[in-house]
Symmetry: C2
Subunit: 384 residues, 2 copies
Amino acid sequence: MNNFEWHNPVRLVFGRGTIPRLRELVPPGVRVMIAWGGGSIRKNGVWEQVIQAMAGRDYTEFGGIEANPQYSTLMRAVAQARSEKSGFILAVGGGSVLDGAKFIAAALEYPGAEPWDIPEKHAKVEKAVPLGAVLTLPATGSEMNGNAVISRLETRQKLAFGSDKVMPVFSILDPETTYTLPARQTANGIVDTMVHVFEQYLTRDTGNPLNEGIAEAVLKTTIENGKKVFLSPGDYDIRANLMWSATMALNGLIGVNAAHDWTSHGIGHELTALYGLDHGQSLAVVAPNVLRHKRDAKGVMLARYARNVWDIGGGDAAKAAMAGVDRTVEFWNSIGVKTRLSEYGIDDRDFGFIAGRLCGADGKLGENGDIGREDVINILRLCI
Amino acid sequence: MNNFEWHNPVRLVFGRGTIPRLRELVPPGVRVMIAWGGGSIRKNGVWEQVIQAMAGRDYTEFGGIEANPQYSTLMRAVAQARSEKSGFILAVGGGSVLDGAKFIAAALEYPGAEPWDIPEKHAKVEKAVPLGAVLTLPATGSEMNGNAVISRLETRQKLAFGSDKVMPVFSILDPETTYTLPARQTANGIVDTMVHVFEQYLTRDTGNPLNEGIAEAVLKTTIENGKKVFLSPGDYDIRANLMWSATMALNGLIGVNAAHDWTSHGIGHELTALYGLDHGQSLAVVAPNVLRHKRDAKGVMLARYARNVWDIGGGDAAKAAMAGVDRTVEFWNSIGVKTRLSEYGIDDRDFGFIAGRLCGADGKLGENGDIGREDVINILRLCI
């Protein structure tokens, strides 16, 4: 087992009727900017609950943070927060709103002239305005980590950054807020949760069976409830299990001393940036083929996944391993997520460009740092 | 699934060679009291590592905190810390030293005349001196929670208290420090870890399969490595897995929305207070019989435990459930822990006294609050 550090100070408040707890959780004596997204919270009652809990408090609002939050949008929020002297960002929405709020929080305290340096040049986040969250879409784990992914339309970039300075002080997760999610977003969230686990668990045996067991529990809970949620979108326990699993998939715990891959996310981000694929869709296309391409290096863990999550045993471990991947694809198809580029109308014309952006001169991806330009192209070919 | 809150800000630093990180983790500009126990750290090199890391820092020492830390000992430490103006407690040792340090930290800031009120009268801990830990014995989970158990010889009491104010700021866990543990302490730690899980997981189905999966992963990892550790006490991965499992068993995670029992701990504390049984020994005697006594109310989860942890299936769930308990007892016997009161020379003469202390007038124990005086006596009778 490798050495590790585990430190996650986010206060997670989980359950029905928890949004009013904003009253005690939002720090007093500070102007709050409530940041939200495309408007679904205005229709499903979440906005009203938040505004009611914030009654009598000093707050302003910034709406319109889009899926794959755009740098230009977020910089408008930064300008507004600066002029209004906001001292706390309250993100209300899904992973995109939370990621956007993290960028706003970091940009507000960034001493340089160009906050885009944070994702692009990995400029260190030394300080950030504190933030909290009300999560309405289980998927990204952003509610309990310090990661964010920001997009920039004019350069067709989608880049990540991470800092413990942008971990939410608190996150409120009320599964009832997810009852009205469109099926597509629910399905995308299921894929995203599973691939977050894959990127940490389906790498190599790190001698930490407890964490592998937790990863498997997240996957099994997500699959079992993911099979049921579309028939019973208003079932509290199903929604609660999906929401809690999504958080646990990427709050750092299962990754503390795993070998991290993130190839699927890297390639997936490019597909989103270039073609506008949903994040979950991009992962559903790429992840199975990263696993197939790396079937040998990932063989031990793939066989374990097939056995412990899908109950696929038998003597031939390599065959079982691939059957586990196939079963994953079948499951995603069964919940309405397409898993081939051609199904999204995408052909091979940009494969070289994507591989070049990801792998630069000699850059390599993956838990073993051995996925280069040619590998990315080969993986993408499998995706067609 | 019930509502829950999950907030654990302890910084856990895990792995070989991590004790020197005290240099950065202990806050600067404050006088540190290094608190330790019976002297094993003086023999196994841990004390030297700590002192070396603290070179050039302003620190004093308080040694001699015993197993089942005594109020009188801890109050001497409080007096010393007060006169020396210590502003940080660094606990170096096992759960007893950590628990003792938590009491010292809370007592130093306690405004009342009698800090014993904290465990006895549940006086609220509003403030505490900050503390950190170097853990040398995996068992209690004290390194990542705000709980402590303190004993008082003259009244033969062993009482618990809990507060997030006494959560360690950091805890360093180097599995190599556990290589030289006596077999008895290693075995006790294995029992303690497992019973911590039992008290949260073997209660009733709370509709949270992810947490139940984590609980099972802790149990399986503990059992699998517990079977090997006595043959290979210097195997790093075995020690690391036991240490990480012990932390995860009681850092709050698996208990976030479980139904909590703690009957075995309650009765066990009395056996320790009256007869000096090791904490692990007391649990090994009591826990199986709490489970047998509550076989009906705990039936669903007992059958699940038997199936998922011991691979005991079959048509008769009630029979499988009891077979799982029997297998647990066999395992503990196999690692040298006796599981009957008579094996420790204890008879039934104090059963009424114990039941009376635990259940007072009409007090009840257990996840369903239905274990009264007579039940405690019946459980103890099963323990003979």
